[in-house]
C-alpha cells in the first residue's frame, strides 16, 4: 500500500525505506522533532523528497492522484480558529468535498453512514454545535470522523492524541483497533510515545533512532 525506498529530505530524513501492507496497523515512533511529521508530509506530497522513491497504492507518487483514498488527521487538527463559523456536521461533510458541491448533496446511504460514524464517535448529539465551541477531545473525534467518512483505504494519524484526556484516549484506541479488525482499515499512527499502542499495532517503525 505504501512503499518508501531510500527516501531522503534535507538533513532531516536520510535513506528511509519502509513497506506498509493492506490491513497493517503501523506505529511510526520517534522523538519530537525527529522527522515523523516530515515523513508523513513526504508521503502526502506536501513536501518534495530530495531522493528515493515513494509508491502509493502500487502507483509511483508522481502519478498518484487518488488522495481521497487516504484519510488524514494532522498533528494540529484540534488547534483551529475558534471563531470559524461551521457546525460539526458541516465540517464532517467536508470528507466528501472532492465530489460534492452546493448543488449535489450526499446520498441517503452516505448520510446514514455519516450518522453511524457520528454515533460510534459519540458526536451525533453535538452535530449542530459550532466546531470552535467543542473541547479538544470532541474536535479530534470530529476530525477523525471527517477523515473516515469517505471510507478511505488508509488512515494516517499524526499524533492525534495530543492534548486529549485519558478517558477519551482509551475510547479512541479501542475504536481504531475495531476499525482495523472489522473494516480491514490500514492505519498509520505517528506518535512520540508508543505506550499502550504497542498492544494493538503489528509493525513499528522508529525514525531517527536505532532499532532496539
Amino acid at each position: 500500500m505504501i512503499e518508501l525506498n531510500k527516501v531522503s529530505y534535507k538533513n532531516i530524513l536520510c535513506d528511509i525505506s519502509l513497506s506498509i501492507e493492506k490491513g497493517d496497523y503501523v506505529a511510526i515512533v520517534g522523538p519530537n522533532g525527529g522527522g515523523k511529521s516530515t515523513l508523513l508530509k513526504l508521503i502526502l506530497k506536501r513536501l518534495e523528497k530530495d531522493n528515493g522513491n515513494i509508491t502509493l497504492f502500487s502507483t509511483p507518487q508522481e502519478r498518484f492522484k487518488e488522495y481521497y483514498k487516504i484519510g488524514y488527521v494532522a498533528q494540529n487538527s484540534v488547534q483551529i480558529d475558534t471563531n470559524f463559523p461551521a457546525t460539526v456536521e458541516e465540517i464532517i461533510k467536508l470528507g466528501f468535498a472532492y465530489k460534492t458541491s452546493f448543488f449535489t448533496k450526499i446520498t441517503p446511504k452516505e448520510n446514514q453512514y455519516m450518522e453511524y460514524l457520528m454515533r460510534i464517535f459519540d458526536i451525533l448529539d453535538i452535530k449542530k454545535q459550532l466546531i470552535g465551541d467543542l473541547s479538544g477531545g470532541q474536535r479530534q473525534r470530529v476530525m477523525i470522523t471527517r477523515a473516515l467518512l469517505n471510507q478511505p483505504k488508509l488512515l494516517i494519524l499524526d499524533e492525534p492524541n495530543a492534548g486529549i484526556d485519558e478517558a477519551s484516549q482509551t475510547t479512541f484506541y479501542t475504536l481504531l483497533k475495531e476499525l482495523n479488525k472489522t473494516e480491514k482499515l490500514t492505519i498509520v499512527f505517528v506518535t512520540h510515545d508508543l505506550g499502550r499502542l504497542k498492544e494493538d499495532v503489528n509493525k513499528v517503525f522508529h525514525i531517527n533512532k536505532v532499532l532496539s
Partner: protein, 265 residues
Amino acid sequence: MEMFEYTFMINALIAGIIIAVLASTFGIFVVVKRYAMLSDTLAHVSLLGVAIGFLLNISTIWSAIIVALSASLIIEYIRNYKAVYSDSILAIFLSSSLALAIIIVSLSNSFNSSLFDYLFGSIVAVSHEDIISILVFATVSLFLIGYHYQKLLLISFDEDLAYTSGINVRFLNLLFVSLVAIMIGLSIKIIGALLIGALMIIPISTAILFKQGFFTTWIIALSMAVFSVIAGLTLSFYVALPSGATIVLLTLILFCLSYIYKKFM
C-alpha cells in the same frame, strides 16, 4: 414611491442588490481565510485601471477589471511562492497601485468628477449595460462558487487538509481571487473603490457574531448586505447622501447593534 419613477434609481437598486449578494458570497470566504485585506487591495488596484482607462480613453470598467484581474493573478502567484508574507504582498500592491494611479491622473490632467464617482460610488452612474454585465458575471460566478462550495470551504477551514484530500488548491485559490477581482472591477462604479471592501467584510463580521454554521452565517450576512443596499440607496435618494458611503455606514450600524445585542443580551 417617487424613486421608482426614475430609471437610474431602478438600475442602481438592481445592480446594488446583485453586488450585495456577490459581496457576501465572496466576503465569507475572504473573511474566514483571514484574507480581508485582499478586497481593499484589489479595489485600490482597480482605481489604477480606471486611471489607465481615462488616460487611454477606453472603457474604465473594462480597464479596471483587466488591471485588477492581472494583479490578483500576480498576488496569488507570489503568495504561493512564499517568499513574501501574504499581508505584505497586499500592502505593496495597495500602495503602489494607488501611487501609480495618482501619477497617471496628474499627468493626464484627468482628475475630474468621474474619478470621484469611482472612489465613492454614484447611483446615477449605473447604465443598462452595466446591469447586464453584472448580471451575467453574477450568474457565472455564483454557479462556479456553488460548484466548488465544499472545496472552497475546506480550503478556508484548513488549506493543508485540502491539499492532502487531493483538492487542486492552487487552481481554486486562483479562480477565487480572479472572481473577486472581476466583482470589484464591476462594483466600484456604484459602491466605490474605497467602500466595496467594507461591503464584503462588515456584513460577514456581523453575521459571525451570531455564532451560526457556515451556510446560516452566509444567509444572515447576505440579508444584512441586501437590506443595507436598499435602505442606503433609498436614503441617498431622499436625503441626497452619497450612495456608497450611506450603504457602508448602514452595514456598520448593523454591526454595532449586533455587537451590543450579543454582548449585553
